[in-house]
């Protein structure tokens, strides 16, 4: 095929979006990721001690060119994807009546007799919305990683993996069918496994990786079953043919499901797909993997939580939403089982994760639970049919959560810097140390006095959680523990301001933040149902309102503990990013995202909202109108109500105010206990801190019984006991039979055979005696024989009978 001709067709351009990152992945993996093995005492790279992760081994040292080339390749890939996305979005804007007409292109992938599978790309309004957010967020994360991973010996591998991750996410976004979506979905799962376990020397990291993969895998397999069932019923997996096709939807809603009575096929498929998302987007009860996933490098957390993986789960729900709705109409209070599942799971997750977030002290874990909670908002919104509000919240949340994660990464980096300062350079020449940081440490430019610096930074990279080497430095120091921070606003001002913007957006600070507008939309939709007396709407409204209050509160707590007051440790006093490329690449993305965290909200303002509505939505809600054009059944618009708006104000400002009072006005000083402990009581606080003991519960309910079953029942009892036992018994039985036959053989058959010959032999011996050569004996025998013959003759002829 002529490539030029192929690309000149606007329909085909979307094929190229994932290509850049995927190519970058291949190039980095196969070509530019080159390390030479150097023994620890050679070359001066790790001159003063063994590399902590390679005790006594040769250390792979990445050459400067390899590191730089990998970064360049990775950046080119993701920027290419971004530029092509912009081109695609522009093309889409040029399509008349876009939504009804879309850009699409597909090819046959495999025939399986009954229909076959095709692979294709689809650009419809939902894709366009994602294409505005995802490539931009990915690009920023890449930029951030240049600085964040600058001291890690495996930066090249890191870039190859995040390139694959972005490629998979973009594949998922442009996919035109569930199968391709699932392909992207699973590859992301794999990447998250590799990235969470990036520092695989740490047992906690690889365990978290295994946990994340296994948990999501359970959900994915159920989702795959749903996909397989959908295919078996409809013979296609294309979105356009299923969810944008009223006839197919009605058919599925009427067809009874295969196993469960009373459920329609649409319902069963919907539930399977939703369970997939519950795993991927870490909803209750499969949320347990996500907080542990914080073991990965921070850009990974941002990638997983904001731009990619968890959003992918929600995006899949949005894609398939018409299927979940089929047969019901939430606007009129008619719910289908999938919708109820989403409403209940989502709202429970929202409140439940928010309460856990209250009691976490790890700066990243607070954000992790906050993410779970916010995703719960979206799922719950979908459950009550608030399709547009959920989509809107997905986009705004992606921006401010990516911002918060990267800002928290900066904080951690700064803290490590401070720690490094305290422990290693307490007596060194300050100027020399600072000089090391002014030098762009892009590559392993560690010579002379820099050597020590780089080496210990690598140690930070691997030991981000205060593990390994740091055990030498008593007491144990955790650079992620907020209790060790405080006062960082002074040394890290840019991080502070951007974090504050992101935090306020998350808290829903009224009117000026994106988070406010999207949350408000969800509450508005829920309130509409409440006015009509719909139960699920009411549940969602109440739980989400409380969650929003908690969200505002814990966000303020986090910012207060981290940035306010005075430094509670020496390390925090010296926490900063330094200057140079590292600092620049780590702050630029924060600034860009901060912009979106404020302004992204104005595209979806309700048209009847006083003042703001007339400014931003004079012709109706632009986001709503854009995103719903492609849906076969358009969601109804909800009118404007004051109650939810006031609720939004109240919970946002209330939470922020309470947090302000508790953690900003009287900031914690070193050694002081968290005031929350007293308020909640120790028992409740400990329960929350231990995440309601879910990990322990799962261990008891699932893992231990499975292990017990595998070992004792399946292996020991059935396999070794019954089956092998039967076999061995058969073997023994045959041996017994053999022994028996052997004995029989020796006694009876051999006895007969041998006996016969022996008898003949004995008879021979006996007869031989007659041949003695003695004439008297012969005569005696002859005489005896004659007598016998005479007697026989006499008896037989009756001679004797006549005698008496």
């Amino acid at each position: 095929m002529d490539l030029g001709q192929f690309l000149s067709d606007a329909n085909n351009l979307a094929w190229l979006i994932p290509v850049g990152p995927l190519l970058a992945f291949l190039v980095i993996t196969l070509i530019t990721n080159k390390a030479t093995l150097v023994s620890a005492d050679e070359g001066g790279h790790y001159a003063d001690h063994n590399h902590p992760a390679y005790p006594g081994l040769k250390v792979p040292v990445v050459a400067d060119w390899s590191r730089v080339a990998s970064i360049v390749v990775g950046m080119s890939g993701v920027i290419a994807a971004w530029l092509i996305s912009i081109a695609v979005v522009t093309n889409a804007a040029g399509v008349a009546d876009f939504g009804k007409y879309v850009l699409e292109s597909s090819v046959r992938w495999m025939d399986t007799g009954a229909g076959g599978f095709s692979m294709g790309v689809l650009v419809d309004p939902a894709t366009v919305a994602m294409l505005i957010m995802v490539p931009l967020a990915c690009t920023l994360i890449f930029i951030y990683s240049i600085g964040y991973m600058a001291h890690d010996p495996r930066q090249a591998r890191f870039f190859s993996l995040i390139a694959l991750f972005s490629g998979a996410m973009l594949t998922l976004v442009v996919a035109d069918n569930l199968l391709l979506l699932f392909v992207g979905w699973e590859i992301m799962g794999l990447c998250s496994f590799m990235l969470i376990g990036f520092w695989f020397e740490k047992p906690s990291a690889y365990k978290a990786a295994v946990k994340a993969f296994t948990t999501t895998r359970v959900a994915d397999v159920i989702m795959l079953l749903g996909i397989a069932y959908l295919y078996a019923v409809t013979g296609t997996l294309s979105f356009r043919e299923i969810v944008y096709n009223v006839e197919v939807l009605e058919g599925l809603a009427e067809l009874p499901a295969i196993i469960i009575p009373g459920l329609s096929a649409a319902g069963l498929i919907g539930i399977c797909l939703i369970i997939g998302t519950i795993g991927k987007s870490a909803q209750f009860p499969l949320h347990v993997w996500l907080p542990d996933a914080m073991e990965g490098p921070t850009p990974v957390s941002a990638m997983i939580h904001a731009a990619a993986m968890v959003s992918a789960g929600i995006f899949a729900l949005l894609r398939m939403f018409p299927l979940f709705e089929a047969g019901g109409h939430p606007h009129d209070g008619v719910y289908t089982p999938p919708l109820l599942l989403m409403a209940i799971a989502g709202s429970l997750t929202a409140i439940f994760a928010a309460t856990i977030a209250l009691a976490q002290n790890d700066v990243k874990k607070v954000l992790a639970y906050s993410t779970i909670s916010q995703l719960g908002f979206m799922v719950a919104a979908l459950g009550i049919g608030a399709f547009v509000a959920a989509f809107f919240h997905l986009l705004t949340h992606a921006f401010f959560k990516a911002l918060l994660f990267m800002a928290s990464g900066s904080v951690i980096h700064g803290m490590e810097h401070g720690e490094h300062h305290v422990h290693h350079h307490a007596h060194d020449d300050e100027d020399e140390h600072d000089h090391a940081h002014e030098t762009p440490l892009l590559a392993a430019e560690s010579h002379g006095h820099d050597a020590h610096d780089t080496a210990s930074h690598d140690a930070h990279g691997h030991d981000a959680h205060g593990h390994g080497e740091h055990t030498a430095h008593a007491p144990h120091f955790d650079p992620q523990d907020m209790m060790n921070m405080g006062g960082l606003r002074k040394t890290m001002p840019v991080t502070f301001i951007t974090f504050l913007i992101g935090g306020l957006s998350l808290a829903g600070f009224p009117l000026v933040t994106a988070g406010f507008w999207s949350k408000d939309e969800i509450l508005l939709d829920a309130w509409y149902g409440v006015t009509n007396g719909y139960g699920p709407h009411a549940l969602v409204f109440v739980l989400l309102a409380i969650s929003a209050f908690l969200t505002a509160f814990y966000t303020m707590r986090q910012i207060g503990l981290t940035f306010m007051g005075e430094a509670r440790t020496e390390e925090a006093k010296h926490a900063n990013l330094g200057r140079g490329v590292v600092a620049f690449t780590m702050t630029l993305p924060l600034v860009v995202l901060a912009f979106f965290a404020i302004f992204a909200g104005f595209v979806g303002v309700h048209p009847d909202f006083p003042i703001f509505g007339s400014i931003f939505s004079p012709n109706g809600n632009p986001f709503f109108d854009f995103i719903t054009t492609s849906l076969a059944v358009k969601p109804e618009k909800v009118g404007f109500y004051w109650v939810p708006v006031l609720t939004s104000f109240a919970v946002g400002l209330g939470g922020i105010g309470l947090g302000y009072l508790m953690y900003w006005r009287k900031p914690l000083v070193a050694g002081q206990e968290d005031p929350l402990v007293k308020i909640l009581g120790t028992t409740l606080h400990t329960t929350l801190k231990n995440k309601y003991y879910f990990d322990e519960l799962y261990t008891i309910i699932f893992i231990l019984p499975a292990q017990w079953f595998s070992k004792n029942v399946a292996y020991e009892f059935l396999d070794k006991g019954v089956i092998d036992g039967t076999l061995h018994f058969t073997g023994r039985l045959f041996t017994w039979i053999g022994d028996f036959i052997k004995v029989m053989n020796a006694w009876l058959i051999d006895g007969f055979g041998d006996g016969l010959s022996e008898m003949i032999g004995r008879a021979g011996i006996w007869f031989r005696r007659m041949q003695s050569g003695s004439v008297q004996q012969y005569l005696l025998i002859v005489a005896l024989a004659a007598i016998v013959i005479v007697i026989v003759f006499a008896l037989s002829t009756g001679v004797l009978q006549a005698a008496p």
Binding site: W185, E186, L190, A228, Y229, A232, A706, Q707, A714
Partner: protein, 571 residues
């Protein structure tokens, strides 16, 4: 019909035997010469296998056209379709008096298996390179084993099939008993040989009974008409006799209903196919590890030297699944329809149970051994769907699992050779010293848990779709109780197996390749050689290729399965 100037299939079968004989003539001190000849022979058969595969694939269009033509001809369509599928046919009378002919051919089902055998042969010789103890005998037996395996795959005469089947078992016994793991080898070799022999004897009895039944049928008046017509139309060779082991002829008998006559063994509800199908299917199924006859396989795999484990799990188990389909389902479709609905329950037990056991093994090799049991269950499960989607999935799974498990055993062997232990908890951190093995193992693991982009996904997904599709049509009667639509439950249960697969693969990966590395515990660990890296790449590559482009194999399998489905539909 696709043919070639010289008998390429015979060459594939006999080249290893010739090489084995030459190796036996070499003085035992010249080990490198032995290795050289072995790898040359292995390379040559791989080249020929690839040639056959590609040749078949290149002619798919004409084969499909011939199948369509056969379908339209309207007479014994299944058999005609089957005949149209065969390529590279070699046929000559061997013992005409006994109805035995030397009949070889490939179709869409066995062409992938031929390629797989070639791949495993090459890699098997390469991983055995460093065997110093009786190198000569090892290589000779190994090549003999390979030729037996090839013979089974391409045989289109049941006698020839059994001939090679038994030929493969004996070198296997010797290889395990002589070169295996000292603690287990005699027990395992004996167990394996007995299981397989018993299975094959049961199947052989069934086959002989089948040949006799077919012969009687062709001698009956109505059968004679069919027989003569088939001869006249070229479906059977002009020299054909009624008593024959020939596959085409038996297929014709099956299609014409010779095995479906009720009243067999004096019972009104029994027919030949209904009685004998389980014996033949499960008799061969023993070699595919069908529950509860799977226990030879983990022990055998663990005890065997690496190369033998590779060929064993990689190819030999496929041999059972292949022969079960070929001799069971193809020849007795009615029996299949009656019996596969309960055999599916055995297969789901395989899938879940094997995975559970693999989950709790401490021995690295046992994990892989039981994972094979689990994955071969999926193959048999694909057969039980009796529809194109599910069976294509099973065919893909055969190839995918073959390459994957050979890769697994290669990885295990490479770790074991260096660490001298297979105890999972005492290993750790091998990613650092053997990154190639680590990545290869992860690729294999991802394949086994069905990661999209790798071959396992497309295989499992199509099997699942096939089961869903089959579900409304299948029902099982037990006495007065009818179980219907239960394939959907089977799908869900087997999904549980996939989840557990993920759990054990990740557990092993975590414990063996990640975590802390203790150099003092493993003094002999040396980096991989190029030879070993080649093995890993060579086996991992097809997993990726097939995962990304299933169309390189799926249409081919489809041509092989279409006749089987026609027969199933017509029965």
């Amino acid at each position: 019909m696709l043919t070639f100037g010289f008998p390429v299939l015979s060459l594939i079968i006999f080249l290893p035997i010739v090489a084995a004989v030459i190796i036996l003539l070499i003085p035992k001190e010249q080990k490198d010469l032995v290795r050289g000849i072995a790898i040359a022979a292995a390379g040559a058969v791989f080249g020929l296998s690839l040639f056959v595969y590609l040749g078949y694939n290149a002619n798919l269009a004409s084969i499909q056209a011939a199948q369509d033509a056969a379908l339209n001809a309207g007479f014994s369509v299944g058999t005609a379709q089957f005949n149209a599928t065969l390529a590279y046919v070699e046929r000559m009378d061997w013992l005409p008096a006994l109805g035995i002919s030397y009949h070889l051919a490939v179709d869409g089902l066995n062409a992938p298996m031929v390629l797989l055998t070639g791949m495993v042969t090459v890699t098997g010789v390469l991983v055995s390179w460093k065997i110093e103890d009786r190198t000569k005998e090892f290589m000779a037996f190994f090549l003999l084993l390979v030729s037996g395996v090839y013979g089974v795959f391409v045989a289109m005469d049941l006698f020839v099939l059994f001939f090679f089947y038994e030929l493969a078992i004996f070198p296997m016994y010797l290889l395990i008993a002589t070169y295996g793991w000292v603690k287990l080898r005699e027990y395992a070799a004996m167990k394996l040989t007995l299981y397989i022999l018993v299975g094959s004897v049961v199947a052989l009895i069934g086959v002989i009974a089948m040949v006799l039944t077919a012969s009687n049928f062709f001698l009956s008046p109505e059968g004679a008409v069919i027989f003569e017509t088939a001869k006249a139309s070229g479906l059977l060779p002009a020299s054909a006799q009624t008593f024959s082991f020939d596959m085409t002829q038996l297929t014709l008998a099956g299609e014409s209903g010779a095995f479906d006559v009720l009243g067999y063994a004096g019972s009104d509800v029994l027919s030949f196919a209904r009685v004998w199908f389980p014996f033949i299917f499960i008799g061969f199924g023993v070699l595919a590890g069908v529950f509860p006859f799977h226990n030879w396989s983990p022990d055998g795999h663990v005890a065997a030297p690496t190369a033998v484990s590779m060929i064993h799990a990689g190819v030999l188990m496929k041999l059972g699944a292949y022969a079960a389909l070929r001799c069971g389902v193809q020849l007795m479709p009615e029996g299949a329809q009656v019996h596969l609905p309960w055999i599916v329950i055995l297969t789901v037990i395989n899938v879940v149970y094997g995975a559970f056991i693999a989950f709790r093994q401490r021995d690295f090799k046992y994990v892989i051994g039981f994972s094979s049991v689990s994955h071969m269950g999926l193959v048999a499960m694909g057969w039980t769907t009796m529809n194109l989607t599910g069976m294509t999935g099973a065919g893909l799974q055969m190839f995918s699992h073959g390459a994957m498990t050979a890769l697994f055993f290669g990885c295990v062997g490479m770790v074991y050779d260096r660490a001298h232990t297979r105890d999972i908890p005492s290993l750790g951190g091998f990613m650092k010293v053997l990154p190639w093995v680590g990545f290869a193992f992860i690729i294999g693991g991802l394949t086994s848990m069905g990661m999209p982009g790798l071959s396992g996904f497309i295989a499992e997904f199509t099997i699942f779709v096939g089961l869903w599709q089959a579900s409304p049509d299948v029902s099982l009667q037990i006495g007065g109780f009818t179980l219907s639509n239960y394939y959907s439950i089977i799908v869900i249960l087997s999904a549980l197996g996939i989840v557990i697969t993920a759990a054990y693969v990740l557990r092993v990966t975590g414990q063996v390749f990640f975590g802390e590395y203790h150099p003092e515990r493993f003094p002999d660990v040396v980096p991989l050689t190029y030879r070993e890296k080649f093995v890993l790449v060579f086996l991992a590559a097809p997993l990726v290729i097939l995962g990304v482009l299933p169309s390189v194999m799926a249409p081919m399998l489809e041509t092989g399965l279409r006749p089987v489905l026609t027969l199933l539909g017509g029965a």
